[in-house]
């Protein structure tokens, strides 16, 4: 009798906990959180798109293709473009997203946010009918679908205080720097089948793993590789790993010795065994070029590894091996500093492997870890730097070439100047069709390979840890779309 009373009391005490476990929102732990609920402010559009709150007219699918999203289509009309919206679209407040609302959204984005003006300037916008809008960019645009997939042009309706968007979730409670509570957007298809979600900003990789282990986090986004063995031993957790649209590379400062010599740069490219990098990073793929293989314009063949040929190139460049294997030229040692940064732990992991590969052919390499690498790159105060970046954020490969390899670009950190590459980029601006652009991009890639201002290393995998409730979650190959309409919670 006493036991029964105790059991009943225990059941009653635990009942709310069990019910809470069923109904509580899915908790997503990740290192970033929006700074604002207004997509026209700063880079909030990017984070809100990643959180499943904001959407753009076009988007990038799992295979890296640009596909229509809110737009049904876009067609060129002279120097303008006609955007046709999908039917029956609604904002999260229930009001319609028609051509008039689209015009208001684009006008506000380009007025408020210089980043949006960077895409299309201040455009001329004309409503043609309920679903069609003519957009005339201030300056010529080639790949308009890619531009319309960029986060500064996230579609929203602003009532003077709050912004309403069109994504599968809408914000309920926002604590800046801490958390964002979301509920399914009732005006988005299948709203009832999506769970409520709380996104928690967790800045430390170990804390993220501990949150998953303690059962407080259901989706731990981008786990550090060193936490995986521990997490994989827990049967209640699932770890899913997926190659992402980011690429790891080594930028070589072409203004500094020894990388002012193309043969030395080519030797570095040849001397790195990418399979060792993949093994060190606990997963990933050897790089084929600037773009991960998910993109249709990526090169197919992994970069060549041939240490002997690399040594030959160094010999030709005048760097002769001494008795101890160290290469010298005119009394100078073949040496450089390899700079990396801790925000991408994989890069710190692979740096010693790169050093080992290069020291085998006679380089002397120092490794430097800096907290803030971007300022150092911008000031060009580095010899070689490991760098990770999204290779095609808008689904179009021209962007990275324009930004990093055009001789006049402010973000050409390598000080790379090559007339054929610039000319090829000029021609690319005139090409609209996706297959022709892909072919042109591959051509540019070959020109860059020959000069080797960048050594492409590997495509990483990202690891997502899942609780049982979130075990059906399928990671996307990008942090641009962490929460999507297909999110479900298991009972």
């Amino acid at each position: 009798m006493q036991f029964r009373i105790l059991a009943t009391a225990a059941a009653l005490a635990l009942a709310p906990i069990a019910a809470d476990a069923q109904t509580r929102p899915l908790v997503v732990g990740q290192g970033f959180l929006t700074d604002s609920l207004d997509p026209a402010q700063g880079v909030a559009g990017w984070a809100l798109q990643s959180h499943g709150v904001a959407e753009t007219l076009f988007t990038v699918d799992r295979e890296g293709r640009i596909v229509p999203n809110l737009a049904e289509s876009v067609r060129r009309d002279g120097e303008s473009f006609v955007i046709r919206l999908k039917p029956d679209l609604k904002f999260a407040d229930g009001s319609p997203l028609d051509a008039t609302a689209l015009k208001a959204s684009l006008e506000r984005a380009t007025k408020e946010n210089p980043r949006a003006r960077g895409q299309i300037g201040t455009p001329v916008l004309d409503v043609l009918n309920a679903r069609e809008l003519r957009l005339r960019p201030e300056r010529p645009v080639a790949a308009i679908e890619s531009v319309l997939a960029e986060f500064p042009l996230a579609i929203h309706k602003f009532d003077g205080t709050n912004a309403s968007m069109t994504g599968p979730f809408r914000a309920v409670e926002f604590k800046r720097g801490e958390s964002l509570r979301l509920e399914p957007n009732p005006f988005y298809r299948d709203a009832a089948s999506r769970p409520a979600v709380t996104i928690r900003r967790i800045g430390d990789a170990q804390t993220l793993a501990l949150g998953l282990e303690s059962g407080e986090v259901d989706i731990a986004f981008n786990l550090a590789p060193e936490t995986l063995p521990r997490l994989k031993r827990r049967p209640e957790l699932t770890i899913k790993s997926t190659p992402v649209a980011y690429q790891y590379m080594a930028l070589l400062n072409t203004q500094r010795a020894p990388f002012d010599d193309v043969k030395v740069r080519q030797a570095v490219d040849l001397a790195i065994d990418r399979s060792m990098l993949v093994a060190a990073a606990n997963g990933g793929e050897a790089a084929t070029g600037m773009f991960p293989r998910v993109f249709p314009f990526a090169s197919e063949t992994p970069r060549k590894f041939d240490a002997r040929e690399a040594e030959k190139l160094l010999d030709e460049a005048g760097w002769k091996a001494a008795a101890n294997g160290q290469r010298m030229k005119d009394g100078r040692v073949l040496e450089f500093t390899l700079t990396t940064y801790p925000q991408r732990p994989d890069l710190v992991t692979i740096a010693p492997v790169i050093r080992a590969n290069l020291e085998r052919i006679g380089f002397r390499v120092r490794i430097e870890v800096t907290e803030a690498i971007s300022p150092q790159l911008q000031a060009k105060r580095y010899d070689a730097a490991l760098w990770a970046m999204h290779a095609a954020p808008g689904g179009d490969g021209a962007f990275v070439f324009e930004q990093y390899l055009r001789s006049t670009s402010t973000t050409n950190f390598m000080s790379f100047a090559n007339a054929p590459v610039d000319a090829a980029l000029d021609r690319l601006r005139e090409i609209d069709a996706a297959p022709a652009r892909a072919a042109a991009l591959k051509g540019i890639e070959q020109l860059v390979f020959a000069q080797a201002p960048v050594v492409y290393l590997m495509t990483p995998v990202w690891h997502v840890g899942l609780s049982k409730r979130a075990s059906s979650y399928v990671p996307y190959p990008s942090d641009y779309y962490v929460l999507r309409a297909d999110l479900r919670a298991s009972p």
Binding site: S36, Q41, R115, G118, R176, G211, E213, E216, P393, F399
Partner: protein, 306 residues
């Protein structure tokens, strides 16, 4: 006295003005352009037009002296401008985040102070006793064990293994472990200073005389050396309290606390000029305030200063 107070006030104002000037100069001398950094961080084109537009929006297109004058004027009238990164008013961010850092920093110092007296007295009385060993171990541990490692270890033990606290806890409970870590790192330096003061007194002739007269050692040590040791402790406490504003960043990051430290770390990487300038001035004001309080404490403790 009023004249001295006025002079002190003017000196403080002069120091704050120099701090603002130094803040502006140092921050602007940092390499890299925040507009470019902000654009490349989110995969955007850092073309000249967009960079210029951001400069205009942030007021960075003016000559440096004009920028400084405008910023200082705004700062003094309560407009600390907006963060480049978050777009939010900086004063609001400070107002929201400073209490978090203060709770962690002062909470840790308070807990450390609770343990300082018993440990330091025990160690001063018996240099080879258990209190001395604990104190030496705590001092060495605080120097040798990184705060982030200790934080992760405590989270793993209490949140994952015992499940008595939450990793992502909310409410006052979330401050317990961070405060304990700050207390652990502060305990050694504070207690060692207090111990040294007491030990010095315990070797003094007047203390031995007190013992010879039959005084209880504990009571005599406190009576003869307490005030002297607290004088040293106040100096050590001044140094420890100085870093409360922004110095708890590691603990804040590990425990996901939205304090000033995490904000500062993000702002440095993004060259968030106005945040960094505001922080340096606030930190200088904080140090001045702490120095002022410490001077008051010394005045009370040291009769020679009266």
């Amino acid at each position: 006295m009023p004249r001295a107070a006025i002079a002190e006030g003017l000196r403080a104002l002069l120091l704050l003005w120099l701090a603002s000037l130094a803040a502006f100069a140092v921050v602007r001398a940092m390499p890299a352009d925040p507009a470019v950094l902000s654009l490349i961080a989110f995969g955007q084109a850092a073309d000249a037009e967009t960079v210029e537009a951001l400069h205009r929006e942030w007021g960075l297109d003016q000559a440096l002296p004009l920028q400084y004058a405008a910023w200082l004027g705004d700062f003094l009238t309560g407009d600390w401008r907006r963060s480049f990164k978050t777009g939010a008013p900086i004063l609001d961010e400070f107002a929201k985040r400073l209490p978090v850092s203060l709770i962690v920093g002062f909470g840790g110092l308070f807990v450390a102070l609770l343990a300082v007296g018993p440990l330091a007295r025990g160690a001063a009385k018996r240099p080879n006793g258990w209190a001395a060993r604990v104190l030496d171990a705590a001092t060495l541990g605080a120097q040798a064990i990184p705060a982030f490692w200790l934080g992760c270890l405590l989270l793993w033990f209490f949140a994952v293994e015992l499940r008595v606290v939450d990793v992502l806890g909310e409410g006052p409970a979330r401050y317990v472990l961070p405060i304990l870590i700050v207390a652990f790192t502060g305990l050694g330096p504070l207690a060692q200073v207090y111990r040294a003061g007491l030990a010095e007194v315990s070797r003094a002739d007047y203390f031995r005389t007190a013992l010879a007269k039959g005084a209880d050692p504990d009571t005599a040590l406190e009576a003869q050396g307490g005030r002297y040791a607290r004088l040293g402790l106040s100096a050590a406490l001044t140094a420890e309290a100085g870093w409360v504003v922004g110095g708890t960043a590691v603990v804040e990051v590990v425990f996901g606390l939205p304090g000033l430290g995490t904000f500062l770390v993000d702002s440095i990487a993004m060259r968030d000029y106005f945040v960094l300038q505001a922080y340096i001035v606030v930190a200088a004001a904080w140090m001045l305030a702490i120095a002022f309080v410490a001077a008051g404490a010394r005045h009370l403790l040291d009769p020679r200063l009266r």
